[in-house]
Point group: C2
Chain length 543, copies 2
């Protein structure tokens, strides 16, 4: 660093780019650090934009974490907003930049960091209502200004951002229709896990349309692919993003098969001394092993910081990503890490699944909420492949513990042995994460064989009789068609009443069913437990 | 299991004992399982007792999770309350039991599980006010009945249970004096971490007396070792517990040097086919390597279950314990895992410490609370040796993530690379746990050398000048005596003003101090950052 000062050019001034710039200054006081940002702001709170729309964040200034001026004062960064890099010459090591006045200039670099992010997947809007994404402060301003009680709004896309947009538009009194191309909301999770979300949205008055997309639009309305017409004076497009790679591609930098900029585990691109980080870049996927597009702010920040370390001469490498994510909607939290059952199934991977529904803390302490948890693991190695947690309390804690365990190589059964901090308002002496581990171990070792909710029909067709071991009151309140009710505590005395042949037992959440399965197996019966009980089955089959 | 049925005798019917009994039944339908419990109840919610006293748990029945009858119905357990095992003959494999009528009987066993727990350390009460521990339903009933507005109560012991007792007695309107023998409350944590607790207790009207103990008592009052007399119509003794090992010792079973029953990693005692679990037993300590007394309900349950697996012929071993614990007091949560700085220091272990004070979630989203976090790690291996987290939101999540990382062998710097689920109401794109890892890495690698709060006086005596890089307004609102105020953003322009010789810089929480330290080091200065900033220093030095 005492050699000639480096000139480091960073393209993109939000999460990854700005993390690189500030960390580099802390490591290298002498470097010339230039940040070009196409938009009017740098370092804004993009994950906060929906909450500004909804009025949760009332002060617009709170979104603007830094300005070019504050970054110069503290870090001597040369930050230029409304400056678009239009060309990179990797041979001559120079970028061509177009400023706000349309003038172009050349900026040489010793190291170049591309943090160009992603852009909305949609095409340009047509003649219908105004269409906005929710990715920039300008977008948030436009939606914020348009929102008013009764305004008919269509939100396209039921992923993380779309759901946050829905919640916040409802908070402003808008009449929201949520249009989702796929058959379920929040597709990173499996269908039985998102059932409470669809229910909650309906309760809040959101018109949820699944399996459709907009095919035409006119002022005040859009037409969906099922032929219905929906009133819309505004459309929020949250249908997804694609990596912004035009600049890199034009420069001859290699683009991966996922469509993101290809990088090695030190975020190096195919061009010498050109790094890339953030939503425009492929990540190494812990579960899949190969590259994947995982667009998370945390990864962008971490990789930006890592690139600064590399430029400053340190040896660093990125860990593979698990794609941990969470969204809060109307008090419900939905979170995941790793792959879903759908992904594993599509990739032909071997896996086993378990579902549990424990309380968020000790049942005898007031205020516990029921969690829905799902774990996916490799039957051979017992390696954790994915997890999903849904509920109203303690969801973020459980997904972070499992994500940490997964990254550290803890097995599914190892979750049972994790020692976690316990007091009755925070958890249980057997924490929900421990319970998930216990059930995983019982499942994988065959101690209690299980049937998944989507396998029940096949099991019945193959001759299995379904036994509901809940109380008669629970049975009457809602049961799986065809199930015989024999309460668990009567089971030993009523073994003779059970029909011959294979059985599937179930209770409400799987725990009594496990006890019943163990009991019946020791009495020589061919029996499996319905994993996750009536609750998982109901969540998986509700339409 | 198809051989002759086993007779398994379990001594103690609460956490560990009952976990063993119910798991064993699930694995072995034929075993004869007898549980002897000295007290009148089994399987009660001992961690809920303080909250019953305080009226948080209003229904006394909620504490009684199971009864002998319910356990017989579901698990065919032979549970005998008010039955005290008075002798074990490990040669003849028989226990002698005294029933409620004083009659004695002999009960043979094939396997014996000792889950005798711990008992209060105190001697018998003398002529003063009634003294009760808070370990049984009977204790809780007595304190619940006595509590009334204005009742003068002395709580002895400022650990987990004592603090819960204080909170709940205050909720009932009692006038509470908390007497703690040691110099600080909650001794599993370090003094600078518990400062907010002492402050909170004072705000709530609790009279906190540190460094004293009760030396005499008379009706209506107790005398403390500093000579003061404190009104007390009731004393709650939470001064600690000792393992209940009389029965084991009399039977010739080996007691470890910690005073708990010695067991191997499969919870086997020195006597054949005699297992022991729970608070009466030594645990293997992950940090220390040797045995330790760690009395946590989670470990008791887990080890009870494990012993059932072993008895049923499975191969299992216990993981070393980290002693993860948490307590909630008046909305403040205080949590730890592993060893404290005090323990490491006393044991002569090499370690380094870092403190951070991040928000519990993104600052731009309303409602974030400042966390105080401390990490202790091995400077050679970077292995995590301990962590402490204190605050009003998100404490339980962070301690569980760190405890999981610690058990899985993640290093301190590895915390920076953990990918956690982020949305602005749940965390930050750089989560507090990540921040702790970044600061650890900067500290351990010497990127930013630090001074601990308790090392500041020595640094100043050695000639260091203290520079406060906060704003003038922050400086005026409260500063470390002798510090020169040079705001961070002016530092580059005012280098000439800084005195020659070694410097210590500080800000409010350590982040700006880190930036200043990096800047000054690159300008050739001998400079260290005050770890955790003004806040940690103030918390460590406040009296």
């Amino acid at each position: 660093m005492s050699a000639a000062p480096l000139t480091v050019v960073i393209v993109g001034g939000v999460a990854g780019g700005m993390s690189a710039a500030t960390r580099l200054r802390r490591l290298d006081e002498s470097a010339h650090i230039v940040v070009f940002e196409r938009g009017p702001e740098v370092s804004y709170a993009n994950c906060g934009l929906p909450y500004y729309v909804g009025g949760v964040i009332q002060d617009r200034e709170a979104l603007l974490l830094q300005t070019p001026e504050s970054l110069h004062r503290r870090f001597r960064l040369d930050v230029r907003v409304r400056h678009e890099v239009v060309h990179i010459d990797t041979d001559r090591r120079v970028v061509e930049v177009e400023g706000p006045d349309g003038q172009r200039m050349l900026q040489p670099y010793d190291r170049l960091v591309l943090a160009t992010g992603a852009r909305p997947r949609r095409d340009e809007p047509d003649a219908g209502p105004p269409v906005r994404s929710l990715r920039t402060v300008d977008d948030a301003d436009a939606i914020h200004a348009a929102a008013r009680p009764g305004l008919p709004v269509v939100v396209v896309g039921g992923g993380y951002t779309g759901l946050e947009a829905v919640e916040n538009l409802v908070a402003r009194g808008a009449a929201v229709t949520l249009v989702q191309r796929g058959p379920q909301l929040l597709s990173p999770l499996d269908p039985e896990m998102v059932a409470p979300l669809a229910e909650e949205l309906r309760v809040r008055g959101v018109d949820v349309r699944l399996g459709v997309e907009i095919t035409a639009s006119a002022p005040g309305a859009v037409t969906l692919s099922d032929g219905t017409v929906v009133a819309a004076e505004f459309v929020v497009d949250a249908s997804g993003v694609v990596p912004e790679v035009g600049l890199a591609r034009d420069a001859g930098i290699r683009i991966g098969e996922t469509g993101g900029i290809a990088v090695d585990d030190a975020c190096r691109t195919s061009a010498p001394d050109v790094f890339a980080v953030g939503d425009g870049v492929e990540k190494s996927d812990l579960v899949g092993g190969g590259p994947a597009l995982i667009t998370m702010a945390g990864l962008a920040n971490r990789h930006g910081r890592m690139v600064a370390d590399l430029i400053a001469g340190r040896v660093e490498a990125a860990s593979p990503a698990v794609g941990a994510g969470i969204v809060g909607v109307f008090g419900l939290a939905l979170a995941k890490t790793g792959w879903s059952e759908r992904q594993l199934h599509a990739a032909g991977r071997e896996f086993y699944a378990v579902h549990v529904h424990p309380g968020s803390h000790a049942g005898y302490y007031p205020g516990a909420e029921t969690l829905s948890m799902k774990l996916l693991a490799d039957p051979a190695s017992d390696r954790i492949l994915g997890a999903q947690v849904v509920g109203r309390d303690g969801v973020d804690k459980r997904i972070d513990v499992i994500a940490t365990a997964m990254q550290a190589g803890v097995t599914a059964a190892g979750l049972a042995r994790l020692e976690l901090a316990y007091a009755p308002q925070f958890g249980s002496a057997k924490d929900p994460v421990n319970m998930l581990g216990y059930v995983a171990e019982n499942t994988r070792t065959g101690t209690t064989p299980t049937v998944q909710w989507h396998g029940l029909d096949d099991a019945v067709r193959a001759g299995a009789v379904l036994i509901d071991v809940r109380s008669p009151a629970e049975h009457v309140a809602g049961a799986i068609p065809g199930a015989l009710n024999v309460p668990l505590d009567e089971l030993r005395d009523r073994l003779d009443e059970l029909p011959a042949g294979p059985l599937v037992v179930h209770c409400q959440v799987g725990l009594r069913g496990h006890i019943a399965t163990r009991l019946l197996r020791q009495h020589g019966r061919d029996v499996r437990n319905l994993d996750g009980g009536y609750r998982t089955w109901r969540d998986g089959t509700v339409r």
